[in-house]
Amino acid sequence: MKLEHRAFEYAGTGAFLASVEPFLRSGLEAGEAVVAVVREPNLGALRDHLGSDGASIEFWPAEEFYLHPVRTLKDYQRIVASHAPRRVCALAEPVWQGWTPRQLLEWNRYESLINVVFEGSGARALCPYDRRAAPAHVLDQARRTHPLFLRDGDTRWNADFVDPVTFGTGCDRQRRFPPPRDADYFAIEDADLHRLRAFVAGRAAAHGLDRRAAQNLVTAANEVAANALRHGTPPMGLWTWPDGPDLICEIGDHGLWRPSPLTGFIPPESALDRGFGLWTVRLLVDLMEVRAGWNGTFVRMHMRK
């Protein structure tokens, strides 16, 4: 069954309730698993408004649910899988405030990836966009990431929708700077990655990452380095440098790799799937960027303290 992924714009709680209520009620009436991930104060208003009719709805505060795009995709995937074969009807309002421009870009990409990850799930998703609070470019991007738009009670096909591969390619085209000249460097010359892990762990501790973040970064860097050793072309190495609160760790080699813009974003079925490694790297770090071209393959990982 095909995914229905639609967005709508609203201004004020009244307009919000007027649009989401018919959607949620239709899900309840059809016997679907209804999930509502909503920001306050809309969450409280929605609960009050539905009263006991909303008793079977699974409510989540958006502020707790939307912390990391790749983890959020995984969480939604778990919800869909846990209710199968029932269809899921999800009211899904991401958080659009408080992110850096780079993080916002990843949340836009997340909205686009929904179309791929849940393509055949039969799920129905409605994404509210607060016209008063969301930045203008967020509203622009919503038109590119939702194939359906709800306006005045009618759902229409959205002509501005861009297919996720094209959208992802656009995200990756962002200008990026090479590592600064004073970045710490570790040459990867040995299949034994123990020293590399010690190097990353040392930089993580010096940057003030907590144990868990440090361990996650070490595991992620180890995986990317192992991939470089397996598939890449020497010389290869690892750079680390601080960027504000972030510790950045980049691994580069001189091989030519042409990853799909979806690489590592689609949750695997299990640890046995190809792609489990890169997906887990995306899960472990705050942000992973891939730059691959004729001058080599570079994987940059960000970890915030």
């Binding site: 123990h194 595991t219 640890a271």
Partner: protein, 291 residues
């Protein structure tokens, strides 16, 4: 407090003059350790003397199996005649006759020109317990005299039948306790077989450069066991890479009809990693005992 822990030594590190004890918990463990002791000895051209218990006739083919493809003439199985005073076939033999037999065999081997001599015996019938004919400490002393200063001996006690007291006595006797040889060991990683529960213990760091040894160790433990659960003791594992997690999931998936791979005593960091990935991604793997 004056606590003396026994010296623990893997089979391959036993030294001339050691008379080590193995308190085994099952036949699989006994075969693994004693088999390595006999097999290593024969491979190195040592004379191996096996003192069979009162149930020795049944034990003989098993011991021959442990000898593997080595020169069987180097292996001598000494039968022990059960003493009439005791009832069960398993329960009684004359300790003095046992010691005499050992002394005789060692003397004969020495006279035959063997410089390296290995001795092994299952002494479950003979030691420990309040009603044992001779206490273990006394056995230690007498065996030492019978064997002489240069032979290596491994004495076995079934700890299921002689209870925890055996371990305390071994400790009190300052005995050497023999442990299985590690399946793999280098500067970064040690993999050992475990028998209660059946599985492996991993210590150190596990990354792509050691995936093949993990594969091999898992294959060994799986081929020898039709048990439902296989346990991995991860208490000493400081790092595991994603590829190794993939290998564990693969192994677990292939034996899914028999039972899970249980991951015991994971460090908080390892556990966090598994939880970040999600147990749903790891079918057939199960969180076991805590750290």
């Amino acid at each position: 407090m004056d606590t003396h822990w026994p010296i623990r030594r893997p089979v391959r590190e036993l030294r001339p003059g050691d008379h080590a004890w193995l308190a085994y918990g099952g036949e699989e463990e006994r075969r693994h350790v004693v088999g390595a002791f006999i097999g290593d000895g024969l491979a190195a051209g040592a004379k191996v003397v096996y003192l069979a218990g009162p149930a020795g006739a049944a034990d003989r083919p098993r011991m021959a199996g442990m000898a593997g493809s080595h020169d069987a003439r180097l292996l001598t199985v000494v039968p022990l005649v059960p003493s009439g005073e005791h009832a069960g076939a398993d329960e009684g033999a004359d300790p003095r006759a046992a010691l005499d037999a050992l002394t005789r065999e060692v003397a004969r081997a020495t006279a035959d020109g063997h410089h390296a001599i290995r001795i092994t015996a299952d002494l479950t019938w003979a030691v420990s317990g309040p009603d044992a004919p001779v206490p273990l400490r006394e056995w230690e002393r007498r065996l030492g005299r019978a064997i002489g200063p240069s032979a290596i001996a491994v004495f076995q006690v079934d700890r299921r039948r002689r209870a925890a007291a055996v371990l305390d006595e071994l400790r009190a006797a300052h005995a050497v306790v023999v442990t299985p040889d590690p399946e793999f060991e280098d500067a970064m990683l040690r993999i050992e077989r475990t028998f209660q529960p059946v599985g492996l213990s991993l210590c150190g760091e596990l990354d792509a450069s050691r995936h093949t040894v993990l594969d091999a160790a898992l294959a060994t433990v799986l081929s020898g066991s039709d048990r439902r659960e296989i346990h991995l003791d991860l208490a000493g594992l400081g790092f595991i890479d994603l590829g190794a997690i993939n290998i564990l999931a693969d192994v677990a998936g292939r034996r899914a009809d028999r039972g899970p791979l249980v991951l015991d005593r994971m460090s908080p960091q390892l556990r966090t990693l598994m939880e970040t990935v999600g147990w749903g991604m790891l079918p057939g793997l199960r969180l076991g005992a805590g750290a």
